[in-house]
């Protein structure tokens, strides 16, 4: 599996927050999701990965190259949609496209205007008169119109209504469909990006807490609802977030594959029931354990 983006031991310091030693590798053709609570450092990490802000130590290599040596080449192939896109505010959408176009080697103007049409953004409007969501869509249109191999999005669904959100997810899926292009997205889990993510990173307090294939993650973690005393002691001791109620207890496990056999008896007897854990449940549990 080719690595499209590789980060090693990234650190960055702000007054009240730091990225501490972040390393990650994104496979080509995948949709990588970076999730975490507010203040976890998602935006900072994305900005470091796309060379928007400098970092203190560590390296970032994209397409096998470093920004120090190949910045324009790399940025030509990245479509970046920031959390709060910046533009020349007093200019029109069309002016913005005309400004940006000469810098891209593979600018596709017809694609850009078709996207604007789909997104219902008027090319003649001044950027400062666009809503926050429309500016995001403009940023997205730019990102998709220059033949980028790698799309990087920072909280792309914030400020978009559910119809656009769904359309965006479909678009991202289609983007990676042929296995050549890659998507990296940073978001709150509840924004729906967890649906399409294939590789999942959990970020908390400037550090990566978990990194795993999403399907494997979801198959390992399960909620078990059980009648008091129905589970073997050894199994019950290994559960997390145990909640005891008069009419049934519940607990979370991340070792479902190993515990499956020991649970078989209780499950078959109807003394235990399984439920899927959401990514949110998993992230919250990991944060609490930190």
């Amino acid at each position: 599996m080719e690595t499209i983006l590789e980060a090693r031991a990234l650190t960055k310091d702000y007054e009240d927050f730091s990225l501490r030693g972040i390393s990650l590798e994104v496979r080509r053709g995948s949709i990588a999701g970076i999730f975490g609570p507010n203040g976890a450092g998602k935006s900072t990490l994305i900005k470091v990965l796309t060379h928007q802000v400098p970092h203190r130590t560590g390296t970032v290599r994209v397409f096998g190259q470093s920004y120090e040596e190949h910045e324009p080449g790399i940025k030509n192939r990245i479509g970046y949609v920031p959390q709060e896109p910046a533009f020349y505010m007093d200019r029109s959408v069309r002016w913005t496209a005309r400004f940006a176009a000469p810098y891209f080697a593979n600018w596709d103007g017809s694609c850009f205007y078709k996207l604007l049409d789909d997104f219902k953004v008027n090319p003649l409007r001044q950027v400062k008169h666009l809503s926050g969501g429309q500016r995001k869509l403009l940023s997205l249109a730019l990102a998709l119109s220059h033949g980028a191999d790698l799309l990087v999005l920072d909280e792309p669904t914030a400020g978009l209504d559910i119809v656009y959100r769904r359309a965006l997810l479909d678009r991202l899926r289609a983007f990676v469909a042929d296995g050549d292009r890659t998507v990296i997205v940073a978001s709150h889990i509840t924004d729906g990006l967890d649906e399409i993510a294939e590789d999942v990173w959990f970020l908390n307090d400037g550090r990566i807490v978990t990194h795993e294939d999403k399907d494997e993650l979801l198959s390992r973690w399960k909620w078990i609802h059980f009648r008091e005393g129905a589970l073997p002691r050894a199994v019950e001791d290994r559960l997390k977030n145990v909640r005891r109620q008069p009419f049934g207890s519940s607990g979370l496990t991340d070792e479902f594959c190993e515990l499956r056999d020991e649970l078989a008896t209780a499950l078959a007897a109807g003394d235990a029931r399984l439920e899927n854990a959401s990514l949110e449940d998993i992230l919250l549990t990991q944060i609490k354990e930190e």
């Binding site: 796309t50 060379h51 928007q52 802000v53 400098p54 910045e71 324009p72 080449g73 790399i74 940025k75 030509n76 970046y80 920031p82 896109p85 910046a86 533009f87 020349y88 505010m89 007093d90 005309r98 400004f99 940006a100 000469p102 810098y103 891209f104 080697a105 940023s139 730019l142």
Partner: protein
């Protein structure tokens, strides 16, 4: 033309036109005092050009595009240099043209103009780098304050020249006379030094632009 250059150039050209149209014409029709005063206003125009061009600049947007910080710095610095050269050529040209009529003060006026342009050039470069280091919220007010001070001093000098009989004439002061004794040499040295410092400021600009987030 490079889009960044095109966007900034308009402001610089506008300033050049107002400078020439409002002030510069006094060099053509005015007395020797014009050559003493007009160059003092030039730094104000240059700093104003920088301030206006940086006003709505969007470095965060530029960071998204495939442009290196170095090329941005180079573009802005070359613009400042080119426009200063144009100011310098215009003023020196008019001075030389009017030397025959005995109005202009000769070599010392030429030196004075060169010094004013060198000063404006380096000051402009400092402000430009300042924008990257400290951001518009700090440097724009600083620029406005500077322009106010410069204008005030120039106006005071103008008024004093008119009303104070013994008010010193800068273009005739001792250091400038000394420099203009060997006109070509001093010009060469001045220009070389100016370009050297300018280049040094540009290198500092490279470092600051890549590592600073203040302008984003």
């Amino acid at each position: 033309m490079d889009p960044i250059l095109r966007r900034s150039l308009i402001w610089y050209l506008l300033h050049l036109m107002t400078y020439s149209g409002i002030l510069g014409r006094y060099l053509i029709v005015g007395s020797w005092q014009a050559f003493e005063i007009i160059p003092l206003f030039m730094p104000v125009w240059l700093i104003s050009s920088v301030v206006w061009s940086e006003r709505e600049e969007s470095y965060a947007f530029l960071r998204v595009l495939p442009i290196t910080d170095r090329s941005i710095v180079r573009t802005k610095f070359m613009l400042i240099l080119s426009i200063t050269v144009v100011y310098w050529l215009l003023m020196e040209g008019v001075t030389l043209a009017r030397q025959g009529s005995g109005v202009a003060g000769g070599p010392s006026t030429l030196t004075f103009i060169t010094l004013a342009c060198v000063y404006a050039l380096l000051l402009g470069a400092c402000f430009q780098v300042g924008y990257w280091r400290f951001g518009a919220s700090v440097v724009t007010p600083a620029g406005v304050v500077y322009m106010g001070l410069n204008l005030a001093l120039a106006i005071i000098h103008t008024a004093s020249l008119r009303f104070e009989p013994d008010w010193p004439v800068l273009a005739q002061s001792a250091p400038i006379r000394w420099l203009s004794d060997s006109l070509w040499l001093s010009h060469l040295v001045l220009v070389a030094l100016a370009l050297l410092v300018f280049y040094g400021l540009m290198r500092i600009g490279f470092r600051i632009k890549t590592s600073s987030e203040a302008c984003l």
